[in-house]
Assembly symmetry: C2
Homo-oligomer: 337 residues x 2
């Protein structure tokens, strides 16, 4: 039996492409005392990991990924064999492991899923009940707080955070939920499957007219989970006392010299609140967030949507597709297929 | 008797210069039924009025200033003669009038100072008890909220808002208050006269080192009342959970194509709150703000500092000096000298 791993073959220039990665078959790893062998089930594709692919990126705690090594990633899997003091065979775990079929675990970047967390598909813990679902939850409930007569605009609305955020905005009672997407096809899916009222394809030539048409009453909440130049157009349509939960900068990850919006004065003249947040800084509130999301899932108010790639060797393609805007919902790789 | 008026001679290109304005002596205005004649005492110099000097600026309610007409401005003065239904001779009034010795008032842009507001120098109502003082107050008490161990950085710290904001931050107990200034001389005055702990001259070549030295523990509150490119450097030194009260964009008023900071992702990674606000949207809270500012003034915790120009004909020079960064404290013109 071999361990399929996907290595960082070369450092991406700007947006990652599939050729930056290489799938190889290596010998099965052996565990030592204090370690456990994890058989990964699903691997999460998260744009944020792009940050650690640059030379000299990261810090002492979490340095840049090494060339020729398995790509660091977030996975869920099952403990296969253990010489670890607390992990035992059969445990379902989630953690920062790697793009590979089998991982060795010995550190703290791992949580064991509790029994009550196991009656949903395990990949939910990478998506709608994981960081991306909770980002949508915290951003809207803490900062966005849409009122009943308000318009909510969601960036990267077909993405892992955005597709959940739009649904939550609707659950919270927002009058109008509009998604920014990179294609009409994704926009139509948002409307048909997820309750969005309208969408704006940001790749069209006449963005101003599209904003006027999709957000005729202006924008009260802009959930920005992607960053980038679209913020300028949004600020031209922002309402007084608007809130901007700001939780991602995907657009900047692969841009060597991003430029900020020239019209930040709109934030002043409209008394706008632009509030950055990082979900992982709210660990103490994860149970609250997960419980609410589970309730909405069970009530059928919230849907999980995934774009699933078959086989660990597809990780590179899946990651590149994520940056190419090809995906809808949460992107995951099913290790076995 | 003549009425000295300062006219908008030409529309400023970028930062206003004294030659954009012209002082002339015109005939005294005559009041009609429903009007009052105001003898202006002080004229406030506010960068914000620059916005109405451009061709096509403003809106239906408040259109662009007309060429060849007296420059619109904020003044305090005394009712000299009245055929107005509520104003009476001797009333002290503040309002949006013009750069001139005598004004005709007939509209709503005027408030009568109450008796208890008259036991301070009248020009306080243009400065420390006016919009600029209240901007400092609202920005720090509503948004900045410095804690005892925190560092507060104030932009344009020698300006009409900044010199008050730094004092309030100290009153609120901030550990360290640092001012951004355009000269060492102003920085030294902040330390000697207003309790600032340190300053950064933003015109120096090594800005990074200056930030390191003046804000060794990073920045918890950045009171930005000027806008402009310095925000990029600030964001590189911002602490987790920092607050940025954002209330002005002087730097952008005269910049035809401002550029936003390229590192807005710092707002995400540090969970920063960037909150725009406009003091005039908080009219209902003016009494609260003025009462607190008066208390601090009476207790000697807060000082009023003005840069006073002698004579209404100096308005153009005073306004130009404001943009040239020559002034310290609140800039006012004493109409008679």
């Amino acid at each position: 039996m071999m361990n399929t791993q996907v290595l960082l073959k070369r450092r991406p220039q700007g947006a990652p492409v599939a050729e930056d990665f290489e799938a190889v078959d290596n010998a099965m790893p052996q565990i030592n005392e204090g370690q456990a062998l994890i058989k990964n089930q699903y691997i999460s594709m998260d744009a944020g990991f792009r940050n650690w692919m640059d030379e000299g990126a990261g810090d002492d705690v979490l340095p840049a990924m090494a060339l020729g090594e398995p790509v660091m990633g977030l996975t869920v899997g099952e403990v296969q064999e253990s010489r670890h003091p607390t992990l035992k065979a059969g445990d379902l775990v989630m953690g920062r492991l790697a793009w590979e079929r089998y991982s060795i675990a010995s550190d703290d970047f791992l949580v064991v899923l509790e029994t009550h967390e196991q009656n949903v598909p395990t990949h939910y813990h990478l998506g709608i009940l994981g960081d991306t679902g909770m980002s949508a939850y915290f951003g809207l409930t803490d900062i966005g707080q849409p009122a009943a007569n308000e318009t909510v605009l969601i960036s990267a609305a077909g993405g892992a955070v955005g597709y959940v955020a739009g649904q939550i905005a609707k659950i919270m009672g927002a009058a109008r939920v509009v998604g920014l997407t990179s294609s009409d096809a994704k926009g139509e899916r948002l409307k048909a499957e997820l309750g969005y009222d309208d969408f704006i394809n940001y790749r069209q030539p006449n963005l101003e007219a599209a904003f006027q048409s999709a957000c005729p009453e202006g924008i009260d909440v802009y959930f920005d989970n992607v960053g980038g130049p679209i913020l300028e157009t949004v600020l031209n349509h922002i309402n007084v006392a608007a809130r901007i939960p700001f939780c991602g900068a995907v657009a900047d990850y692969s841009n060597p010299r991003p430029v900020g919006p020239p019209n930040l004065f709109q934030i002043v003249t409209n008394s706008v609140r632009l509030q950055g947040f990082m979900t992982h800084l709210q660990v103490s509130r994860y149970p609250e967030a997960r419980a609410q999301l589970m309730t909405w899932l069970n009530q059928g108010q919230l849907s999980s949507v995934t774009q699933e790639y078959a086989g660990v060797s597809q990780c590179g393609t899946a990651f590149a597709d994520l940056f190419a805007g090809k995906n809808f919902g949460k992107t995951i790789v099913a290790v076995d297929h």
